[in-house]
Symmetry: C2
Subunit: 201 residues, 2 copies
Protein backbone atom coordinates (compact mmCIF):
# COMPACT_ATOMS: atom_id res chain seq x y z
CA UNK A 1 0.00 0.00 0.00
CA UNK A 2 1.54 3.26 -1.17
CA UNK A 3 0.05 6.43 0.31
CA UNK A 4 0.56 9.87 -1.22
CA UNK A 5 -0.51 12.84 0.89
CA UNK A 6 -0.05 16.57 0.53
CA UNK A 7 -1.88 19.83 1.03
CA UNK A 8 -4.28 20.72 -1.84
CA UNK A 9 -2.32 22.21 -4.69
CA UNK A 10 1.03 20.56 -3.94
CA UNK A 11 0.56 18.36 -6.99
CA UNK A 12 -0.40 15.02 -5.47
CA UNK A 13 -3.18 14.27 -7.97
CA UNK A 14 -1.02 15.10 -11.01
CA UNK A 15 1.78 12.92 -9.64
CA UNK A 16 -0.66 10.06 -8.95
CA UNK A 17 -2.02 10.15 -12.51
CA UNK A 18 1.47 10.14 -14.04
CA UNK A 19 2.53 7.33 -11.74
CA UNK A 20 -0.46 5.20 -12.76
CA UNK A 21 0.29 5.86 -16.44
CA UNK A 22 3.91 4.77 -16.02
CA UNK A 23 3.37 1.87 -13.61
CA UNK A 24 0.83 -0.62 -14.96
CA UNK A 25 1.27 -2.90 -11.92
CA UNK A 26 -0.31 -0.48 -9.48
CA UNK A 27 -4.03 0.03 -8.81
CA UNK A 28 -5.48 3.34 -7.67
CA UNK A 29 -7.83 3.23 -4.73
CA UNK A 30 -10.69 5.42 -5.95
CA UNK A 31 -12.36 7.23 -3.05
CA UNK A 32 -16.07 7.89 -2.64
CA UNK A 33 -17.13 11.48 -2.07
CA UNK A 34 -20.30 13.45 -1.52
CA UNK A 35 -18.82 16.64 -3.00
CA UNK A 36 -19.97 17.78 -6.47
CA UNK A 37 -17.98 16.74 -9.50
CA UNK A 38 -15.55 19.38 -10.86
CA UNK A 39 -15.29 20.02 -14.61
CA UNK A 40 -13.00 17.43 -16.16
CA UNK A 41 -13.47 14.90 -13.39
CA UNK A 42 -14.70 11.43 -14.29
CA UNK A 43 -16.76 9.30 -11.92
CA UNK A 44 -14.98 6.03 -11.17
CA UNK A 45 -11.61 7.49 -12.18
CA UNK A 46 -11.20 10.54 -9.93
CA UNK A 47 -13.85 9.66 -7.37
CA UNK A 48 -17.03 7.68 -7.02
CA UNK A 49 -19.47 10.60 -6.70
CA UNK A 50 -22.24 9.36 -4.42
CA UNK A 51 -25.19 10.75 -2.44
CA UNK A 52 -24.93 11.41 1.28
CA UNK A 53 -27.46 8.64 2.02
CA UNK A 54 -25.32 6.10 0.20
CA UNK A 55 -22.23 7.34 2.00
CA UNK A 56 -23.96 6.90 5.38
CA UNK A 57 -25.08 3.41 4.41
CA UNK A 58 -21.54 2.36 3.45
CA UNK A 59 -20.15 3.89 6.61
CA UNK A 60 -22.66 2.05 8.78
CA UNK A 61 -21.76 -1.23 7.09
CA UNK A 62 -18.09 -0.47 7.81
CA UNK A 63 -17.31 -0.60 4.13
CA UNK A 64 -14.74 2.19 4.41
CA UNK A 65 -11.09 1.67 5.28
CA UNK A 66 -11.09 5.34 6.28
CA UNK A 67 -13.36 8.35 5.90
CA UNK A 68 -13.34 12.01 6.83
CA UNK A 69 -15.30 15.23 6.42
CA UNK A 70 -13.38 18.01 4.68
CA UNK A 71 -14.91 21.43 3.88
CA UNK A 72 -18.42 20.09 4.47
CA UNK A 73 -18.12 17.05 2.20
CA UNK A 74 -17.42 13.42 3.03
CA UNK A 75 -14.59 11.38 1.56
CA UNK A 76 -14.04 7.65 2.10
CA UNK A 77 -11.89 4.78 0.84
CA UNK A 78 -13.95 1.67 0.01
CA UNK A 79 -12.43 -1.40 1.58
CA UNK A 80 -13.41 -4.16 -0.88
CA UNK A 81 -11.43 -3.12 -4.01
CA UNK A 82 -8.30 -2.57 -1.90
CA UNK A 83 -8.52 -6.02 -0.36
CA UNK A 84 -9.16 -7.62 -3.76
CA UNK A 85 -6.13 -5.93 -5.33
CA UNK A 86 -3.83 -6.78 -2.41
CA UNK A 87 -5.02 -10.41 -2.47
CA UNK A 88 -4.02 -10.53 -6.14
CA UNK A 89 -0.53 -9.35 -5.17
CA UNK A 90 -1.04 -5.90 -6.69
CA UNK A 91 0.22 -2.69 -5.12
CA UNK A 92 -2.46 -0.11 -4.28
CA UNK A 93 -2.00 3.65 -4.47
CA UNK A 94 -3.89 5.91 -2.04
CA UNK A 95 -4.34 9.61 -2.66
CA UNK A 96 -5.55 10.59 0.83
CA UNK A 97 -4.87 13.17 3.55
CA UNK A 98 -3.10 12.79 6.91
CA UNK A 99 -6.30 11.74 8.69
CA UNK A 100 -6.96 9.05 6.10
CA UNK A 101 -3.37 7.85 6.36
CA UNK A 102 -3.65 7.45 10.12
CA UNK A 103 -6.90 5.51 9.77
CA UNK A 104 -5.59 3.26 7.01
CA UNK A 105 -2.46 2.59 9.07
CA UNK A 106 -4.66 1.44 11.94
CA UNK A 107 -7.43 -0.44 10.16
CA UNK A 108 -5.44 -2.23 7.47
CA UNK A 109 -2.52 -4.58 7.53
CA UNK A 110 0.57 -2.61 8.47
CA UNK A 111 2.45 -2.98 5.19
CA UNK A 112 2.13 0.64 4.20
CA UNK A 113 4.66 3.01 2.63
CA UNK A 114 3.82 6.69 2.99
CA UNK A 115 5.03 9.66 0.96
CA UNK A 116 4.34 13.29 1.77
CA UNK A 117 4.51 15.80 -1.06
CA UNK A 118 5.50 19.37 -0.22
CA UNK A 119 5.10 22.41 -2.48
CA UNK A 120 8.41 24.14 -3.29
CA UNK A 121 7.14 27.40 -1.71
CA UNK A 122 4.04 29.07 -0.28
CA UNK A 123 3.86 31.37 -3.34
CA UNK A 124 3.84 28.42 -5.70
CA UNK A 125 1.10 26.73 -3.66
CA UNK A 126 -1.03 29.88 -3.89
CA UNK A 127 -0.47 30.11 -7.66
CA UNK A 128 -1.52 26.48 -8.17
CA UNK A 129 -4.67 26.91 -6.09
CA UNK A 130 -5.67 30.04 -8.03
CA UNK A 131 -5.06 28.27 -11.34
CA UNK A 132 -7.69 25.72 -10.36
CA UNK A 133 -10.29 28.23 -11.50
CA UNK A 134 -13.34 26.10 -10.74
CA UNK A 135 -13.02 26.67 -7.00
CA UNK A 136 -14.57 29.88 -5.65
CA UNK A 137 -12.20 32.37 -3.94
CA UNK A 138 -13.31 31.55 -0.40
CA UNK A 139 -12.56 27.86 -0.99
CA UNK A 140 -9.06 28.82 -2.19
CA UNK A 141 -8.51 30.86 0.96
CA UNK A 142 -9.77 28.01 3.13
CA UNK A 143 -7.46 25.55 1.35
CA UNK A 144 -4.46 27.81 1.93
CA UNK A 145 -5.32 27.92 5.64
CA UNK A 146 -5.78 24.16 5.69
CA UNK A 147 -2.45 23.58 3.92
CA UNK A 148 -0.64 24.70 7.07
CA UNK A 149 -2.54 22.14 9.13
CA UNK A 150 -1.91 19.36 6.61
CA UNK A 151 1.80 20.20 6.43
CA UNK A 152 2.10 19.97 10.21
CA UNK A 153 1.76 16.18 9.77
CA UNK A 154 4.74 15.82 7.42
CA UNK A 155 6.85 14.05 10.07
CA UNK A 156 4.41 11.09 10.18
CA UNK A 157 5.50 10.02 6.68
CA UNK A 158 8.32 7.68 5.60
CA UNK A 159 9.41 9.72 2.59
CA UNK A 160 9.28 13.40 1.64
CA UNK A 161 9.19 14.66 -1.95
CA UNK A 162 9.44 18.39 -2.63
CA UNK A 163 7.44 18.87 -5.83
CA UNK A 164 9.53 21.36 -7.77
CA UNK A 165 8.94 19.70 -11.11
CA UNK A 166 6.31 17.03 -11.79
CA UNK A 167 8.51 14.73 -13.94
CA UNK A 168 11.23 14.69 -11.27
CA UNK A 169 8.74 14.04 -8.48
CA UNK A 170 7.15 11.19 -10.42
CA UNK A 171 10.62 9.65 -10.94
CA UNK A 172 11.24 9.96 -7.20
CA UNK A 173 7.97 8.28 -6.25
CA UNK A 174 8.72 5.52 -8.77
CA UNK A 175 12.17 4.98 -7.19
CA UNK A 176 10.45 4.64 -3.80
CA UNK A 177 7.98 2.12 -5.24
CA UNK A 178 10.71 0.08 -6.97
CA UNK A 179 13.00 0.11 -3.93
CA UNK A 180 10.25 -0.88 -1.50
CA UNK A 181 9.36 -3.84 -3.74
CA UNK A 182 12.98 -5.04 -3.36
CA UNK A 183 12.81 -5.14 0.43
CA UNK A 184 13.64 -8.63 1.57
CA UNK A 185 10.46 -9.19 3.55
CA UNK A 186 8.25 -8.16 0.61
CA UNK A 187 9.64 -10.46 -2.06
CA UNK A 188 7.23 -13.38 -2.28
CA UNK A 189 8.90 -16.76 -2.79
CA UNK A 190 12.39 -15.50 -1.94
CA UNK A 191 12.95 -17.94 0.94
CA UNK A 192 12.10 -20.86 -1.36
CA UNK A 193 14.35 -19.44 -4.09
CA UNK A 194 17.32 -19.18 -1.70
CA UNK A 195 16.68 -22.70 -0.36
CA UNK A 196 16.66 -24.13 -3.88
CA UNK A 197 19.78 -22.16 -4.82
CA UNK A 198 21.59 -23.34 -1.72
CA UNK A 199 20.56 -26.95 -2.38
CA UNK A 200 22.15 -26.77 -5.83
CA UNK A 201 25.49 -25.43 -4.57
CA UNK B 1 26.47 4.07 3.82
CA UNK B 2 25.33 1.64 1.14
CA UNK B 3 26.62 -1.92 1.47
CA UNK B 4 26.57 -4.42 -1.39
CA UNK B 5 27.31 -8.02 -0.49
CA UNK B 6 27.09 -11.27 -2.42
CA UNK B 7 28.91 -14.54 -2.92
CA UNK B 8 31.88 -14.30 -5.32
CA UNK B 9 30.65 -14.43 -8.89
CA UNK B 10 27.15 -13.07 -8.24
CA UNK B 11 28.14 -9.82 -9.96
CA UNK B 12 28.63 -7.44 -7.06
CA UNK B 13 31.84 -5.88 -8.40
CA UNK B 14 30.41 -5.31 -11.90
CA UNK B 15 27.29 -3.74 -10.39
CA UNK B 16 29.40 -1.52 -8.09
CA UNK B 17 31.49 -0.23 -11.01
CA UNK B 18 28.41 0.57 -13.09
CA UNK B 19 26.76 2.25 -10.13
CA UNK B 20 29.81 4.47 -9.55
CA UNK B 21 29.89 5.39 -13.26
CA UNK B 22 26.19 6.39 -13.19
CA UNK B 23 26.10 8.03 -9.75
CA UNK B 24 28.75 10.74 -9.41
CA UNK B 25 27.60 11.60 -5.88
CA UNK B 26 28.72 8.32 -4.36
CA UNK B 27 32.24 7.43 -3.19
CA UNK B 28 33.55 3.86 -3.21
CA UNK B 29 35.23 2.66 -0.06
CA UNK B 30 38.40 1.00 -1.45
CA UNK B 31 39.50 -1.90 0.74
CA UNK B 32 43.06 -2.83 1.62
CA UNK B 33 44.12 -6.40 0.88
CA UNK B 34 47.20 -8.57 1.21
CA UNK B 35 46.18 -10.81 -1.73
CA UNK B 36 48.07 -10.50 -5.02
CA UNK B 37 46.71 -8.24 -7.71
CA UNK B 38 44.73 -9.98 -10.49
CA UNK B 39 45.29 -9.04 -14.14
CA UNK B 40 43.27 -5.92 -14.95
CA UNK B 41 43.05 -4.77 -11.34
CA UNK B 42 44.28 -1.29 -10.48
CA UNK B 43 45.74 -0.40 -7.09
CA UNK B 44 43.71 2.36 -5.47
CA UNK B 45 40.67 1.61 -7.66
CA UNK B 46 39.93 -2.07 -6.96
CA UNK B 47 41.96 -2.43 -3.78
CA UNK B 48 44.90 -0.92 -2.01
CA UNK B 49 47.34 -3.84 -2.40
CA UNK B 50 49.53 -3.75 0.69
CA UNK B 51 52.05 -5.96 2.49
CA UNK B 52 51.06 -8.09 5.49
CA UNK B 53 53.27 -5.96 7.79
CA UNK B 54 51.44 -2.81 6.77
CA UNK B 55 48.10 -4.52 7.23
CA UNK B 56 49.08 -5.57 10.76
CA UNK B 57 50.25 -2.06 11.55
CA UNK B 58 46.95 -0.53 10.40
CA UNK B 59 44.98 -3.14 12.29
CA UNK B 60 46.92 -2.46 15.49
CA UNK B 61 46.26 1.25 15.12
CA UNK B 62 42.55 0.44 14.71
CA UNK B 63 42.54 2.11 11.33
CA UNK B 64 40.06 -0.44 9.92
CA UNK B 65 36.30 -0.13 10.13
CA UNK B 66 36.23 -3.90 9.58
CA UNK B 67 38.66 -6.59 8.46
CA UNK B 68 38.62 -10.32 7.79
CA UNK B 69 40.75 -13.16 6.53
CA UNK B 70 39.35 -14.91 3.44
CA UNK B 71 41.13 -17.79 1.67
CA UNK B 72 44.40 -16.99 3.46
CA UNK B 73 44.45 -13.26 2.62
CA UNK B 74 43.44 -10.26 4.68
CA UNK B 75 40.89 -7.66 3.63
CA UNK B 76 40.10 -4.45 5.51
CA UNK B 77 38.12 -1.22 5.11
CA UNK B 78 40.20 1.85 6.05
CA UNK B 79 38.24 4.09 8.40
CA UNK B 80 39.59 7.57 7.51
CA UNK B 81 38.35 7.98 3.89
CA UNK B 82 34.87 6.77 4.90
CA UNK B 83 34.63 9.29 7.73
CA UNK B 84 35.89 12.10 5.48
CA UNK B 85 33.33 11.33 2.76
CA UNK B 86 30.43 11.04 5.23
CA UNK B 87 31.47 14.32 6.89
CA UNK B 88 31.23 15.97 3.46
CA UNK B 89 27.67 14.65 3.12
CA UNK B 90 28.64 12.11 0.47
CA UNK B 91 27.22 8.59 0.31
CA UNK B 92 29.76 5.79 0.56
CA UNK B 93 29.49 2.44 -1.22
CA UNK B 94 30.94 -0.70 0.42
CA UNK B 95 31.67 -3.85 -1.55
CA UNK B 96 32.16 -6.20 1.42
CA UNK B 97 31.03 -9.63 2.65
CA UNK B 98 28.59 -10.56 5.42
CA UNK B 99 31.30 -10.46 8.10
CA UNK B 100 32.39 -7.00 7.01
CA UNK B 101 28.77 -5.84 6.98
CA UNK B 102 28.24 -7.01 10.57
CA UNK B 103 31.42 -5.25 11.72
CA UNK B 104 30.61 -2.01 9.89
CA UNK B 105 27.10 -2.07 11.35
CA UNK B 106 28.61 -2.28 14.84
CA UNK B 107 31.62 0.01 14.58
CA UNK B 108 30.17 2.83 12.49
CA UNK B 109 27.20 5.10 12.88
CA UNK B 110 24.06 3.07 12.31
CA UNK B 111 22.86 4.82 9.13
CA UNK B 112 23.53 1.89 6.85
CA UNK B 113 21.48 0.49 3.97
CA UNK B 114 22.37 -3.05 2.98
CA UNK B 115 21.75 -4.89 -0.29
CA UNK B 116 22.42 -8.57 -0.91
CA UNK B 117 22.94 -9.70 -4.48
CA UNK B 118 21.94 -13.26 -5.38
CA UNK B 119 22.93 -15.13 -8.54
CA UNK B 120 19.94 -16.22 -10.66
CA UNK B 121 20.97 -19.90 -10.31
CA UNK B 122 23.77 -22.16 -9.06
CA UNK B 123 24.69 -23.03 -12.68
CA UNK B 124 25.08 -19.38 -13.58
CA UNK B 125 27.25 -18.79 -10.52
CA UNK B 126 29.54 -21.69 -11.55
CA UNK B 127 29.76 -20.34 -15.11
CA UNK B 128 30.76 -16.88 -13.88
CA UNK B 129 33.41 -18.24 -11.53
CA UNK B 130 34.91 -20.36 -14.31
CA UNK B 131 34.96 -17.41 -16.67
CA UNK B 132 37.21 -15.58 -14.21
CA UNK B 133 40.11 -17.52 -15.72
CA UNK B 134 42.82 -16.02 -13.52
CA UNK B 135 41.77 -18.05 -10.48
CA UNK B 136 43.12 -21.61 -10.27
CA UNK B 137 40.56 -24.49 -10.26
CA UNK B 138 40.85 -25.21 -6.54
CA UNK B 139 40.07 -21.57 -5.72
CA UNK B 140 36.96 -21.78 -7.91
CA UNK B 141 35.84 -24.90 -6.05
CA UNK B 142 36.48 -23.24 -2.70
CA UNK B 143 34.52 -20.15 -3.78
CA UNK B 144 31.55 -22.32 -4.81
CA UNK B 145 31.64 -23.96 -1.38
CA UNK B 146 31.93 -20.58 0.30
CA UNK B 147 29.02 -19.18 -1.74
CA UNK B 148 26.64 -21.36 0.23
CA UNK B 149 27.96 -19.97 3.51
CA UNK B 150 27.76 -16.37 2.25
CA UNK B 151 24.20 -16.89 0.96
CA UNK B 152 23.11 -18.18 4.37
CA UNK B 153 23.37 -14.56 5.59
CA UNK B 154 20.93 -13.13 3.02
CA UNK B 155 18.25 -12.49 5.65
CA UNK B 156 20.48 -9.94 7.46
CA UNK B 157 20.10 -7.51 4.55
CA UNK B 158 17.48 -4.80 3.95
CA UNK B 159 17.13 -5.40 0.21
CA UNK B 160 17.62 -8.39 -2.09
CA UNK B 161 18.51 -8.08 -5.78
CA UNK B 162 18.54 -11.21 -7.96
CA UNK B 163 21.19 -10.44 -10.58
CA UNK B 164 19.66 -11.83 -13.75
CA UNK B 165 20.88 -9.02 -15.92
CA UNK B 166 23.48 -6.41 -14.90
CA UNK B 167 21.70 -3.34 -16.35
CA UNK B 168 18.48 -4.25 -14.53
CA UNK B 169 20.29 -4.91 -11.26
CA UNK B 170 22.12 -1.58 -11.50
CA UNK B 171 18.79 0.19 -12.05
CA UNK B 172 17.40 -1.59 -8.99
CA UNK B 173 20.33 -0.58 -6.77
CA UNK B 174 20.01 3.01 -8.06
CA UNK B 175 16.30 3.01 -7.15
CA UNK B 176 17.24 1.86 -3.63
CA UNK B 177 19.84 4.64 -3.38
CA UNK B 178 17.45 7.33 -4.67
CA UNK B 179 14.59 6.18 -2.45
CA UNK B 180 16.72 5.98 0.69
CA UNK B 181 17.91 9.56 0.08
CA UNK B 182 14.24 10.64 0.14
CA UNK B 183 13.62 9.18 3.60
CA UNK B 184 12.41 11.95 5.84
CA UNK B 185 15.08 11.54 8.50
CA UNK B 186 17.91 11.68 5.92
CA UNK B 187 16.98 14.94 4.21
CA UNK B 188 19.24 17.58 5.69
CA UNK B 189 17.57 20.96 6.24
CA UNK B 190 14.03 19.61 5.76
CA UNK B 191 12.78 20.69 9.20
CA UNK B 192 13.95 24.26 8.51
CA UNK B 193 12.38 24.17 5.02
CA UNK B 194 9.00 23.10 6.43
CA UNK B 195 9.17 25.72 9.18
CA UNK B 196 9.86 28.47 6.63
CA UNK B 197 7.09 27.18 4.34
CA UNK B 198 4.62 27.07 7.20
CA UNK B 199 5.61 30.58 8.29
CA UNK B 200 4.76 31.90 4.83
CA UNK B 201 1.31 30.31 4.69
Amino acid sequence: MLVLSSPSGAGKTTISRELLAQEPDITLSVSCTTRPKRPGEVSGRDYHFIALDDFDLMRNRQEFLEYAKVFGHYYGTPRAPVETALAQGRDVLFDIDWQGTQQVRQSARSDLVSVFILPPSADELARRLHRRASDPEDVVAARMAKASQEISHWAEYDYIVVNDEVAKSVAQVRAILHAERLRRERQIGLTEFVKRLDGEL
